[in-house]
Each structure stands twice: as C-alpha cells, then as structure tokens.
Symmetry: C2
Subunit: 273 residues, 2 copies
C-alpha cells in the first residue's frame, strides 16, 4: 500500500544534504523533511552519550512531522546512536554506515580497505566492524580520523593547495598500506572528493555513501510497501536549529543545487529524552 508521508532526514548540520541529494535523485516522488542541527554542530568531535541524546531529540522532532521513515544522514550519529534510535522509533530507521561498508566490501579487489571519518566515528569502531562483517575473511581495514576535512568543506576550500597538504598529512598512511578502496565515512567529505582522489591516485576507488544509502532507502520503502504513489505535490521541507539564513547560505554546494525557500527554525533541545 502506498504511503505518501514524507521521509525524515537529519544530520548535525549541512553534511547530510549530500545524502538528501541522492535520495531526491533516485526517488523524485518521495517527500522529505530535513532537520539540520546546526545550533549544536558538529557531532564528530562530541561524545557518544551527547550524540545519542541529540539524535533522540532530532528523531522526536521528525516523528512529530509525521514521517514514514527516518534516515540518519550523519555517520557519527549512525555510529553512536543507531541502536538507541531503532529501540525508540515508531518508524523504520536507516543509517549510513552499513550501506557504505557493504559497498566497500563489494568494491575491493586486493582486500585492503581504508575508512576516513570523524574522530567519533573512528573511535567508536562501528565502521570497522561493519566492513569486517561484509568483507571476505582476511580483508585488512585501515582507519584514519580527518577532523580538518569538515572545516575545509565548510570553508569552501574543496581543492586548493592547503586541502592538498591536509590530504597528504592524513592520507599518506592509508596510501602506504596499499588500499584500493576508500570509504568517505563522513557526509562532508564528498565535497573534497576531487582532492582526495587526486592524492590517492586512479587505482583507489572512493565510496560516496550517499549513493549507497539512497539505494537502501528505496529498497526498504519497496520491501515494506510504503513507497509514495507519486502524482501529488512533493514536500521538501527544511528545518535548522540555528538561523535559517546561515543554513541557506552554506547549503547549496552540499545539496548540489539551490535550496527551496522557506527553511524554518526549530531547536530540538527542548525535548526531554
């Protein structure tokens, strides 16, 4: 039976827009409600307990928007909070770590996979475990936290000399390990993919988890028989916990197009969780 309610998507801020764009591309008939927690961003440097609390609050807000599914479009929140969210959610929850891990496991030829992510994601070990679960036995996995990448993406320094130097600093150990597959395990990183690809060279495949996540969203909607019937007006609502103008000023490069007008403010910190 078709379900024309929107899909809820949240992130610590704007990085999740790189996931939203892939959902729009693959499922143009699905309505979406996006919440960016810009007032408390970033999540990547924060602790597990804090990220769980914020994620539960964000989920509560999306549930009140009458969504049929929740997509955690943030790797750090997925790594720390997925189990807390599924236990408390009234609708299916999709996270971004597993789809990226499956894509990486299916891509590697030499059994050497790199993962770049925030400190929070790397220290959680969740990404590494997910790749291990899906990759052939004996696959070697190498992780690297790249905290500066988020600032570089937000500053708009996507491919300059400084970004190249930061890539060299963070990625040299992964290159020396001879990986052939690199998971961009943070939704900010696709903006730096040209610089990352150039440093790693043509033999290393980059995994953009947004594409893999959109596939999982579509498959889940279909298997639960809750895809939209299409035809009506498609909702594309945006909320942010900081000022809408700040959000709108930086959103476009992440979304890959101009943002529809009318982002609204909402602070989820008022929710008791």
């Amino acid at each position: 039976m078709a379900d024309n309610r929107p899909i809820g998507v949240f992130d610590s801020g704007i990085g999740g827009l790189t996931v939203l764009r892939e959902i729009w591309n693959l499922m143009p008939d699905e309505g979406t409600v996006y919440f960016g927690d810009n007032g408390r961003a970033p999540y990547g440097t924060k602790s597990k307990s804090t990220v769980i609390r914020y994620s539960l609050q964000n989920m509560k807000f999306l549930e009140e928007q009458n969504v049929k599914m929740i997509v955690i479009a943030c790797n750090t929140a997925s790594a720390h909070a997925y189990h807390s969210l599924t236990r408390n959610s009234s609708v299916p929850v999709i996270e971004v770590v597993t789809p990226g891990a499956i894509a990486a496991a299916g891509t590697t030829r030499n059994g050497r996979i790199g993962i770049i992510a925030t400190k929070g994601s790397v220290n959680s070990g969740v990404y590494k475990e997910a790749v291990e679960r899906y990759a052939p036995a004996g696959t070697k996995i190498f992780q690297q936290a790249c905290p500066l990448f988020v600032s570089l993406a937000e500053e708009g320094w996507w491919d300059n000399d400084i970004t190249a130097a930061v890539c060299r600093e963070y990625l040299t150990p992964l290159k020396e390990e001879g990986i052939d597959t690199l998971v961009m395990g943070c939704t900010h990183y696709p903006l730096l993919s040209d610089a990352i690809a150039r440093f790693m060279g043509p033999d290393v495949k980059l995994i953009n988890t947004g594409v893999a996540v959109a596939d999982v969203v579509r498959d889940t909607l279909n298997s639960l028989d809750i895809a939209s019937s299409g035809g009506g007006e498609v909702l594309r609502a945006f909320y942010t916990s900081d000022e809408p103008k700040l959000f709108e000023d930086v959103a476009s490069p992440f979304l890959g197009r101009g943002l529809p007008a009318g982002t609204k403010h909402f602070s989820t910190d008022r929710y008791e969780v």
Copy 2:
C-alpha cells in the same frame, strides 16, 4: 570587604582556558568555576540569537554556583551576548572584546590595526567598533575571519607547514595593509601565536586578550572591593556540557598545565531563558 566566592568563567569549550590561565597567574588566591559548553561548541560559526540563548543558559548555571563575577571567556559570546548578559545578571559581567581593543589602541604606532576572529565576531562588527572607540581618530582597522584556526588549534597543529599555509592564506591581506598591531580576537588563537608571529614578522605586535582580560578582572574586583581575602583553600572547579574525559584530554595545552582532576558534566540546555 573581601568576597571569597569564586569567579565564574565560561566559554564555548576549551578556548577560554587561555583566559583562565591568565586569571590564575595574576590572582592565585581567587577561586574559579569554569564552564565549557563543549556539547554545543563551537560558537564562532553560529548565529547571534543562538549564541545569546546559550550564553544566558551558561550564565544561569554559573550564578547557581554562587559566583561573585562572570567572565565571558569567549570572543564570539562577548560580541553577541554581552548586553543581554549584563541586563540579566545579578553579578558584574566581564567580556573579552573591550580589553583587547584597549590594548590594541594603546599599542599601535602607525595607526593600522588588524583583528582576526571567528566569522561571528567579525560579522558582528563589535570588535571593530570597540577598537574605534579607544583608538586615536584616523586609525585604520582591518578585520579577517579565520575559521580554520580553531580546528588547527584543536588538532594540535600549532606550528606546522599546513598552519603556515593557512596563515599565509588568511593573513596576507592584513600584512599588505601594513598593520603594526594584530588582535588575536578568539581564545583559540594564542596556541597558534608562533606561526602567526612568524608570518607577520617582528614589526607586528600580537595582542593576547587573555592577559588584558585578567587585568580588567583584577581592577574590577579591587574597585568593587570584592577581591578574595586569600588564605583559604582556592576552588578550581570545571564543568563541561560534553563528557569530562573529552574535555580533560584536550584542555592542558590551552591551560598551559595539567588540569585538576574531577571535571563534572552539566548540560545548560535544560534552562529556560
């Protein structure tokens, strides 16, 4: 009359520790309660309304700790929230913008002053106005937002090739304007002062606002006759809105020494303001 209650100090996270160390250095008998809002850091990229709300909540927490004075050890919070705080505070409030501005106005010889700060501080115009208020007529003021500096300071890249390149990117316009005085208008920046000083050259004086703020704290305590009488045990309490361990792991370089044990967790977002 002596007042042996502690001084309350807050910042978005750890940057304010560069102010706290100067307060400790100058007034070893004064107790302090420090609150770092690490769970919502940084403030420098967030809007005025959000920073005001957070600052009022942080102040409320410090007032409940029975402090005799509140120091806003964060330039962005000082720029956005000082007036809101003084209107609502039961104790004197000290901010960090004016002391740095006065120090800069008294330092320049050629009447050309640079200010580096967060986007929030720069866009507020508050720093520029403060320098204009105290500097001789005709003084030229040049501002530059340096968002990457915060990440570099927190990553521990205080003086490497990447930091040098980022300094060149941000500071070249100020150098070309021939400034002789540069205000480090963000409490993270003193950690990068070697790299900043090397790029700017020996003729440019750097203003570390922490030192200037500590002087104002001491003068205010004395003029209000509320300095500590000394002699007793000196309170040095720390609270953070994220996990204490995360706070303690990164605090030492900012404080310039090891942190006393026992940082406690507290989330000020529960306060209605």
